[in-house]
């Protein structure tokens, strides 16, 4: 079969597995929100903290729910950051032509996930008692 026929048969075929990069957007929006809250002054930072960190002692149930939503989002964003970092470093190594043996490839792919898991756990253990009182 010629290339053109294969392409005509399934024009929607994916060309490479590359869907992970969507994660950049929520991470970067969080970064920009945080930066602009710092730049905006004490009041805007208090708003940021009220929603994302903690609404304080007198928080309503709804505010607590929003806090937990952002905490879980923060957890997901932290893990995806470290996963992207570890996976990216792994691919930089693959780019120099190393680590293509099936066993080595599988080992490092798993190692990247495990490293991301422990890095996330480290940040959570550091952040939760210090800033969230959890």
């Amino acid at each position: 079969m010629k290339d053109a026929e294969i392409m005509a048969k399934n024009p929607n075929r994916p060309l490479s597995p590359h869907l992970q990069v969507y994660r950049w957007s929520p991470q970067m929006i969080t970064l920009l929100w945080w930066l602009s809250a710092i730049g905006g002054g004490a009041e805007s930072y208090a708003t940021f903290q009220k929603y994302v960190v903690s609404a304080g002692e007198s928080a309503t149930g709804f505010e607590t729910a929003i806090n937990w939503f952002f905490r879980l989002l923060g957890l997901a964003v932290t893990f995806s950051f470290f996963q992207h970092l570890a996976s990216g470093i792994r691919h930089l190594v693959l780019d120099i032509g190393a680590g293509y043996e099936l066993k080595a490839n599988r080992t490092w792919a798993s190692a990247a996930f495990i490293a991301a898991f422990f890095a996330t756990a480290f940040v959570v253990l550091f952040v939760a008692p210090r800033f969230l009182g959890v």
Partner: protein, 129 residues
């Protein structure tokens, strides 16, 4: 009509001279991101507290504002390069592809400019606010 295969048609013509550019840029921005995000994570872990005043004074220092602006530029370049490949690979309708690519470019440029403005404002006008 040319009945040769695609590869037959281009073989021997030499390279188009910019085939590796996108690939290389993505790797270079990745290396920059490793350095700069490591700097950010370590800085945040070493922060004494997360009060607005502390953070604003921290960000206003030249030694923090400069790497932060560099990080914003390199991150959004990397975002653009990565999502561009995603769109090229998965959006096959020409109109949708054009629209998605336009939105992506607006998004990364607007975001990067916004981030740079925030850091520059703190760095140039001081952290009194």
């Amino acid at each position: 009509m040319d009945s040769r295969t695609y590869i037959g048609r281009v073989r021997g013509l030499g390279s188009a001279k910019h085939g590796g550019e996108h690939w290389l840029k993505q790797r270079l921005t990745a290396i920059g991101n490793i350095l700069l995000t490591t700097w950010l994570v370590v800085s945040l872990l070493l922060m004494p507290n997360f009060d607005q005043a502390t953070l604003a004074q921290w960000l206003a220092q030249p030694t923090v504002a400069v790497p932060m602006i560099l990080m914003i530029v390199i991150i959004f370049s990397h975002v653009r390069l990565g999502l561009q490949v995603l769109i090229e690979d998965y959006v096959h309708d020409e109109g949708l592809k054009f629209g998605a690519m336009a939105l992506l470019n607006f998004y990364v440029v607007a975001s990067a400019v916004f981030g740079i403005f925030v850091v520059a404002k703190l760095a140039f006008t001081g952290a009194s606010a």
